[in-house]
Symmetry: C2
Subunit: 168 residues, 2 copies
């Protein structure tokens, strides 16, 4: 059960942050060589995005990593844990706990594999498929916040540039 006060607080905080530039720009403090490092800027954007995602999905209490696992299982039912872990760049030891959590909410199921008794085939439950509809709606709302913040053009350009990094 999600804590409604927590949800409200997170939403309010995220809404406030959504339109705000970082403090350095406001206070005119020099970043030194930092603004020549892409890593700094990528990290700031990544924090902003995750904070907004977590706040937007707070009613369902779903974290970014859990969301990514649900989407990959939906698109590739029967995938093993090691495949999901490698696909998403998550340690297999950590994925165990994420699957535990998703199974605890009755979103996914570990089915015994027929070909290899060491591994599990991961599938969505009916409840998982149903919940995913609401989850996707909130995730889309989050992406809308991001587009509002970046502008549709920059958002599209970034999607293309970064996709070609990841898959190129």
């Amino acid at each position: 059960m999600a804590d409604r006060r927590l949800t409200r607080r997170l939403r309010k905080k995220a809404a406030a942050a959504r339109s705000k530039p970082v403090d350095a720009a406001v206070a005119n403090i020099d970043l030194g060589l930092l603004d020549g490092h892409l890593g700094y800027l990528v990290r700031r954007l990544q924090r902003w995005i995750f904070n907004d995602f977590i706040a937007t999905l707070a009613p369902l209490g779903l974290r970014p990593a859990e969301y990514s696992v649900l989407l990959v299982i939906e698109a590739n039912p029967g995938l093993t844990q090691i495949s999901v872990a490698n696909t998403l760049g998550i340690e297999r030891a950590r994925l165990v706990h994420i699957i535990d959590s998703l199974q605890g909410r009755d979103y996914v199921l570990r089915v015994a594999s027929k070909t290899d008794r060491r591994s599990h085939a991961l599938v969505l439950t009916n409840r998982g498929r149903s919940a995913l509809k609401d989850i996707k709606a909130l995730a889309a709302a989050h992406e809308k916040h991001l587009i509002e913040r970046l502008g549709a053009e920059r958002h599209g350009t970034l999607l293309k540039l970064l996709a070609s990094f990841a898959y190129g």
Copy 2:
């Protein structure tokens, strides 16, 4: 003292990762809606960058957050802890430990403020200024890895796009 075996391992791992696309592209596993979410791609890039940064600076054992704090203090000597924390988006409670660590290596000093006895003025020590030369050289090598991976053009475009997000 940095562990040389750790350094070698990290360098080797980073060198291997530097030229490799993510596993999903290799194994042809469907990411579902995930490739429409900028957050996923930003997170993958951010992990790649931080891993390479940590591996490249392993001989000095300096983490990204520590590096960013050093640069800001260098560019703004006398800044208070709260200002550094707000500038970089680090919690002030966490910055305490980062400054502890940097002071423990004799890189920075907490000087009593003359105008407000609650706060500290942060400055680099001579040793800190000297170390920063080597640190910057390694950080530049890291940025070079990133440019090799992305291509100079994409790297430049991303710097511009993300800077206008952070400071716009």
